[in-house]
């Protein structure tokens, strides 16, 4: 289990947990960041915000925000699927 910032572009993580205040969790949940949802990292260059794809939409996340999203790294060969 790693924070989203640890993933390289092209890697997919399955969301395990959101760490943060209620507002933060609530906002991310509405955008589709719920446990089990696959998130693909599109851009992560070691500094500056990330771009991730979740539920078909692209979302830019600050590094601080992305650090509070914990994921299980999915093997890159697997097609993304919802674990539910």
């Amino acid at each position: 289990m790693v924070p989203l910032t640890a993933l390289n572009p092209g890697q997919v993580g399955l969301i395990h947990q959101l760490r943060g205040g209620h507002r933060f969790v609530s906002r991310l949940a509405a955008l589709g960041f719920t446990p089990g949802a696959p998130v693909e990292v599109m851009r992560n260059h070691g500094f500056g915000p990330l771009i991730v794809a979740v539920r078909g939409a692209q979302v830019a996340l600050g590094r601080g925000e992305a650090n509070h999203i914990l994921v299980y790294v999915q093997e890159e060969t697997d097609a993304p699927s919802e674990k539910r």
Binding site: R27, A29, A60
Partner: protein, 672 residues
């Protein structure tokens, strides 16, 4: 599936009289093209104001279809209906308390899964919903296929495919609205249900609160929002329930603190069931247009270069096309002033001067800025409407972080190059108060079109061939100070919560002329309203001060008295009193500097270089560029911060910086 009985009753479509006005609310997530639909339905027949007591834009309009009158309300774009933001509260309060006849839920057909989340929330409120699948063309371009009929069969509500930018599907939408209102459509929505694990808890909550829930709130909705930890609903119930009952509710909520994720997860599971047969996603490896464009445009190196290039084009277009038009308009207005002067021959001298020079001249100067503003807003509206602006904000985020700002501050600050007023109003898109106030504080450092015009006139007067370099240096001083002040405030003054950066990157799509047109129209109207009132009044006052009591002898006028009172300050800066007066009148409107110099010196282009040393001239231009923002900007700062202290801080800071910088430039220049 479980449906509480009371909601079924309130949701039944009620046939209304054929003559009654139908109230339709448009709801949708940001970037789904909701405003395009609203504009297409209402045209210019719309009214833009604010929601009562809120700094959130409220757009209402009307249209007539098949002899029926429809009133439309454009609700703020929101991702959900939990009370996380003002916008979300406004949207749900409207649906709960104003009870529109129909809610039109607009979703982006290219990202059906995510954008249906709001529908899942809307179906839990007591108003019938018509679903619009907008941007069918964008969906096709990204390889997403959606079958409207299949989705309609699954959801049990009308589903209308649309392409609002091409005016496709508007009639079908209006028909669907009427069919629901008239009870022609068999409206039987299939609503999301909560996870079985939480069902018993939800029932328990409903029983506990049932007696105190206000009439306009469905009890099961209130219970669900309690479980989601919605601040507003929690406060409402805490106030309404007797303490022992509240204790029971509170205990339940305490043990299910993370229920929000399960509730949201259940909604997404419901969406997955609803769309299983209706949506075909692109094959793995198939790249849509957005992904292909973003390989370059969000790349840390190429994306930054692209952004610089885009900004270059924006300013080049604005000034290369706008400046000749401005000069043409200026000549035209000078001509009109002369004509008016002549045609009023025989009337008292002071009245002729007041009408032609004070009134027409003052208003005319403001109007000459229209071409530049129209072009600037049109280019920005174009970039916004294609979806590029979010990429610009993403790229800019790296550079704005050090100033305590983030990517979302980029767009408002960019607007500031046109006019500082929309820059300050535009800071509304920033969620945290800290980042928003910092953006408002820094916005007046952006040189607006009016200040650039003053620089364009005055630098050649003082510096001849070197004018272009001096003008660039002046802009650089402003932007450099913006960065320094941002960093200082971020590090030392405004400690506290770092701003959240969560921003959707919409899919690219072809821009819509009408959307851009209305964007330009609304921004220009706001500018003209300011020109028509504040600036006009102020320029007449300045004229009166310069005319009386000596009947036209400026040197004996009230304005001269004020200027002479300022001369100690002026001599510290190496500036004669008329220049100080010119500076002072720029508080009314930045372009007044030129007009005042004209009133006080006549042909200032030949007089000024003989009066001001080059170092004093440079100092003057620096002060002019950094001086306190104009009256309209100050009013906007007060309105948006809701704080006189903050407004005073902004004014004081700009005054201190401008005089300090001007003094330094003058003194250092004297030494060289």
């Amino acid at each position: 599936m479980h449906h509480p009985k009371n909601v079924e009753q309130t949701l039944a479509p009620h046939p209304s009289a054929e003559t009654a006005t139908i109230v339709v609310a448009l709801a949708g997530q940001p970037n789904v093209g909701k405003s395009t639909i609203f504009n297409a339905l209402t045209g210019l027949n719309q009214h833009v104001g604010n929601w009562p007591g809120k700094t959130v834009e409220r757009k209402t309009g009307s249209c007539t279809y098949r002899d029926r009158h429809l009133d439309l309300v454009d609700l703020p774009g929101t991702y959900s209906l939990t009370a996380n933001s003002v916008e979300e509260r406004i949207a749900r309060d409207y649906i709960l308390h104003e009870q529109p006849d129909v809610v039109v839920a607009v979703v982006d057909a290219a990202i059906p899964e995510r954008s249906l989340y709001l529908l899942a929330e809307l179906l839990q409120l007591p108003a019938p919903v018509v679903l619009v699948l907008n941007m069918m063309d964008v969906a096709a371009q990204e390889g997403v296929q959606v079958e409207p009929q299949v989705l309609q069969a699954a959801l049990g509500i009308p589903v209308v495919p649309m392409c609002a930018t091409k005016n496709q599907g508007l009639q079908n939408l209006l028909d669907a609205i009427l069919n629901v209102v008239d009870g022609v459509f068999p409206y039987e929505p299939r609503r999301p249900v909560i996870l079985p694990a939480h069902q018993a808890i939800l029932e328990q909550l409903i029983t506990l609160i049932a007696d105190v829930v206000p009439a306009s709130y469905p009890p099961d909705w209130v219970a669900l929002k309690l479980l989601e930890g919605d601040e507003e609903v929690v406060a409402l119930m805490q106030a309404a329930l007797p303490p022992p009952v509240w204790k029971q509710v509170h205990d339940i909520l305490y043990h299910h603190e993370d229920a929000i994720l399960d509730v949201a997860g259940a909604r997404y599971a419901w969406i997955a069931r609803m769309t299983r047969a209706a949506v075909v996603r692109p094959k793995v490896g198939q790249m849509g247009l957005t992904a292909r464009l973003d390989r370059g445009l969000t790349h840390p190196v190429w994306g930054t270069l692209a952004l610089l290039g885009v900004l270059g084009i924006v300013f080049w277009l604005t000034y290369a096309v706008g400046t000749p038009l401005q000069e043409g308009l200026d000549e035209l207005i000078q001509h009109l002033v002369t004509m008016l002067h002549d045609s009023l021959h025989g009337m008292p001298h002071w009245l002729v001067d007041l009408l032609s020079d004070g009134l027409l001249g003052g208003a005319g100067m403001v109007i000459t800025f229209l071409p530049i503003l129209v072009i600037f807003f049109a280019v920005l509206g174009f970039l916004e409407d294609t979806g590029y602006m979010a990429r610009a904000a993403y790229i800019a985020d790296r550079f704005m972080h050090a100033m305590g700002l983030h990517g979302k501050s980029f767009m408002p600050l960019l607007l500031g190059f046109g006019c500082n007023v929309p820059a300050i109003l535009g800071s509304r898109i920033i969620e945290t108060q800290r980042a928003r106030r910092l953006t408002i504080l820094l916005a007046p450092l952006i040189p607006c079109a009016a200040r650039m015009a003053v620089v364009a006139v005055l630098t050649p007067v003082f510096f001849g061939k070197e004018a272009a370099w001096v003008a660039w240096a002046l802009v650089a001083v402003n932007l450099g100070l913006l960065a320094v002040i941002g960093i200082v405030f971020n590090r030392l003054v405004l400690k506290g919560e770092q701003s959240m950066f969560i921003m959707e990157l919409p899919l690219y799509h072809l821009p819509n002329a009408r959307t851009i047109g209305l964007y330009v129209w609304q921004n220009v109207i706001a500018f003209l309203r300011k020109a028509g009132t504040v600036i006009l009044t102020a320029s007449v006052i300045v004229w009166l001060l310069s005319y009386f009591p000596a009947n036209g002898d400026v040197m004996q006028s009230y304005l001269a008295w004020i200027g002479r009172a300022l001369s100690p300050l002026g001599s510290a800066l190496g500036l004669p009193w008329p220049v100080m007066v010119a500076l002072l009148t720029s508080f009314v409107a930045k372009e007044n500097t030129i007009a005042t110099l004209g009133v006080l010196y006549g042909d200032f282009a030949t007089v000024l270089p003989t009066l001001l040393a080059p170092s004093a001239a440079l100092g003057f231009l620096v002060v002019q560029m950094l001086f306190i923002p104009c009256v309209a900007t100050v009013a906007a700062i007060r309105q948006e911060t809701q704080s006189w202290r903050w407004t005073a801080l902004s004014l004081g800071m700009m005054l201190g910086i401008s005089l300090g910088a001007g003094f330094l430039v003058y003194r250092i220049g004297m030494l060289i």
